[in-house]
Symmetry: D2
Subunit: 333 residues, 4 copies
């Protein structure tokens, strides 16, 4: 009775990272994958549509719509920037719902995945704590609800290691009883790159799929399993030590290639290896001695709180017309 | 959208208090109500069996089995005493399960009612956090589970005010998916007497029934609703200001009756009133000015943590034969 | 080694309450005590100046300036009201400093009294956590500090029960090393009335004086002891069970006096007793059985956080000209 | 007003790591440095005595006594192992005090450095919260203190970024007022190696010296500054991304050297570089893009709590004869 099953919620890769890796192999134009990006001084918003199974296979992600909001300065605790990110999140999320056919009255169930007692895994529960919940007013006093709101419920179901029950089964039970029109699942992710940690928000309409390995019999939070559309919101909050090493080597190679053509002399075979090969090599060294830990930045406590507030504020504004999308912060504490 | 629906989990009266009140009217022998008490220096354990509907009506509680463990010194932060209470809890709880027909392999689902962010209401979630969860081992690697354990799962479903969904519906959904043989529901209670707060633990096989009033359409955590037996574990953690006043007046009357026969001169009509009448009078004064608050002792943070540990330790020992009932504390952190 | 010395920081009475009690004996005009009050729908601000030793004796408080801000609806979690209270606090606090001769450059040391792990006693530490600290910029890079700021430092020194050192001695040591021009001490208070708990803020220039009893040899946070002016900011967060009982009896008498002249028949001798006599009687009953607990409202977690934010925001705006007093909330998280 | 001064408490290198690096250059016998190590299955205890300035310069640490307890499995949440580490800590710490001339009555002041709100930096404040404090009993009722105890006080002074005052000045003020015979300062450290994070405890009698850079004018917690001996207890809780990369490269080189003689073909010039050169190269790449973050393992919340308990238990047993060194855990919660 000693294996660790608690890391359920930290596993998904970012579609953007998957795409970047694939582009290295395919060049920029991958068939069945359409990407557009908008950038200003502080934020880069990338929309990706994977329309075919082939495109999905090329990128290594499921077909669907993905939005990625990258804010490199998000770790600087600039509360004005945070407000603008929440506003932008709301402005992207509302049309995202409409595009996949979810109207303004559609009932939402927000699921905060993760473990409240593990700071980098507490994003989901923290969003649930801060989001505005309205469903009970519609149930108990429907005639007194002001216009401009929709029924929203929110649950943090815990993780397998602390509940003993598959999270997807708990959510399935709640969906069957409370009958939402769609589910929004918030999750902390693992990233390939330290710089993405706590600076990137991903929205996807593909649901959440458990990783392989121990959990390979495990059910995901998907439309197939739950019977309603599942929108996943993910933020990378941890990174494997091995990926820090590997992506740094990558940066070193790039760095020196700009300065000299003799990188093979500096890096030997490391220079000519495929990135995946090199990652394998790094893991081969770190895994047996237990050094391939998941790590998170030192200031994770503040980061998680800030991003949970951004997402909660953004969801409040996107889900309720009565909440002003230009002043999202006023409605969340 | 302003009414407060969050207090769901603080409402139940203690059976012992109900019985005491009834005894005033009926004398000690209430038909259909059987009581026995065991007392030592530190603890008093009272077992009550209400066997008939009439008995239930007389006491104002549902027919069923009740155990109350009273430990007046429990607020003194004596860790040795806490260990003995946990041990005693385990020794009472294990046979309680057998008496109502739940064998050693019966699968338990522990439900921690209440709101993690309201300290006196956080008992349930804290027990869930500290209890040993084993169900996933039975599901994922049944052949590797040591003998002497049973499948135990544990969920803190939140409160209506923060989820927007009736707690009983969430639990019903989880029961249908995870199929436990019985449910243990932990809840913070309101008491009639300040001295019971954080010093008393009640075990009952009657489930948990929502109060009247706003919630009168609300479903309880009962065998009828969930389809499996529901054992409620409750600890009073709050008390209404009005009941502090009323029970103090009661004590004052008692105090002076021992000293003088002229309590009517001292207390006027207060002396001759029925207790309920007087409580009404107190409420009549406090309610309109908003003073009839639920209050809790100043040191509630430490009390709640201590009692949650006691109950979690006690449950671990009672539910798993492999855990030594004489050394319960070793298995909980 | 079992006595409880940890309650150091919860003891002070409100000057307003002391004055109210005194007025009962003296009538409204107490010599040497000048009071003026301003009231709108949500707030009542009372300024009291006790100018003579006799006035102080009459009221039972030290001579000095007192401001009390009463906000009966402050427990309703109305964030707009909270912002207005913070603004009002700033508007009262800034001229208060000037009146006692503390200019805009005067260096402030904010001391957050109380125990972080006891929610109703955590007000001081929470304010320290949320207030803007600037002293180190003035020390380390004085030429880079923008105009409109003053040096502010902030420390939460802990309580005697957890440090083993008199809080006043710790503060004295810090004052000698860091040389502020004045000290602001934030403290949680005990109130005579449940309705004042978490709804009232008191500002006084008389420092903080330890209670009598065990602590009678203990030194206060006073100008005499520290060598610089000490402004105390206090919020009642707890109330003794006995005072709840007593003030309710008071309200009951008042209530029935409006309805009948025969209160002596209803309340007997309780009717004709002096309030203090009756309180003694209540304590006589509660103390021996350990029921005279300090209690706090059930929702204390949220209240404490809200009021700590109000005071931190208000202090930021009052202490720094560069912070807009009309938009105080923007500078605190 | 934007520079970050808050990282005061995470900076010290481990003496053991410094020695390992030096041994690479000097061979095992460094003059003026005496080392002895004891190892069992779970723990390795290394005692180092740097007796000369030359030895100190060779190792890069100040002359003094160092004890390092390494417990590779400490992150596995084995509560039995934790108890044994606490016991061992006590058994090492008590003679350490005597060796430097501190008798059984010598008064201790425990200083918990670091920031309570930054999990990997909260070790010091957490130890202070859990340690047994006795000084006030000696001050207030000296005749009632049982034999076998000494006066112990404990303060968590905060960090410069949240107080605005140099931590060393706060401590100096407290030392002057409370007059301890020695200071024990607990601090979270940065490590060169991810595997040391949360698995290693270092004890040193050299005090705590602030790093270079911004803080170069800053005063340390040293006997010279405080006037009494200062014993530092440190645990590495964070690691720079650059050191993860560098030490992994080191491991990779070592790994492949065991397999092939042609590491220069695999690693190019990386193979022949000095370790420090290579680290510079890694930093050169990471620093400009802001990727050289301090990181901490994902499960830091649990680790910090466990180690704080170990150190608090160990200190209680080492400081008070009345506490059984073989059963240290019983005295800490």
């Amino acid at each position: 009775m000693g294996i660790d099953l608690s890391m359920y919620s930290v596993r998904t890769d970012l579609a953007l990272e998957a795409k970047e890796m694939a582009s290295g192999r395919y060049g920029d134009a991958i068939p069945g994958v359409h990407t557009e990006a908008l950038e200003d001084d502080d934020m880069k918003v990338t929309k990706m549509h994977i329309s075919t199974a082939e495109g999905g296979q090329a990128v290594g992600k499921l077909p669907g719509h993905y939005i990625t909001i990258e804010v490199p300065r998000l770790r600087e605790q600039d509360s004005d920037l945070q407000d603008r990110v929440a506003t932008r999140f709301a402005q992207e999320f509302a049309p995202f719902l409409q595009r996949i056919g979810l109207g303004k009255e559609a009932k939402a169930l927000i699921i905060g995945l993760g473990n409240n007692n593990v700071t980098p895994d507490a994003l989901g529960p923290l969003v649930v704590e801060n989001v505005m919940v309205t469903r009970h007013y519609f149930e108990l006093m429907p005639d007194q609800v002001s216009p401009g709101y929709r029924p929203v419920s929110a649950v943090a179901p815990g993780v397998l290691g602390t509940t003993g029950i598959e999270t997807s089964e708990i959510v399935q039970g709640i969906v069957e009883k409370s009958r939402p029109d769609f589910v929004i699942a918030i999750d902390a992710l693992a990233s390939r790159a330290l710089e993405r940690v706590n600076t990137t928000i991903q929205i996807a309409d593909t649901g959440i799929h458990p990783g392989s390995g121990v959990g390979n019999k495990r059910k995901g939070l998907t439309q197939e399993f739950l019977g309603v559309p599942v929108i996943a919101i993910g933020v990378p909050t941890v990174v494997y030590a091995s990926t820090i090493v590997n992506s740094t080597m990558d940066m070193m190679l790039g760095h020196f290639k700009n300065q000299t053509s003799k990188t093979d002399q500096i890096f030997g075979m490391l220079d000519s290896m495929e990135e995946n090969e090199r990652l394998q090599l790094v893991k081969e060294v770190l895994d047996p001695v237990g050094h391939n830990l998941l790590v998170t930045p030192k200031d994770i406590d503040q980061f998680i709180e800030d991003i949970a507030n951004i997402i909660a504020s953004g969801l409040n504004a996107a889900l309720h017309d009565a909440i002003d999308q230009d002043n999202v912060a006023a409605y969340t504490h």
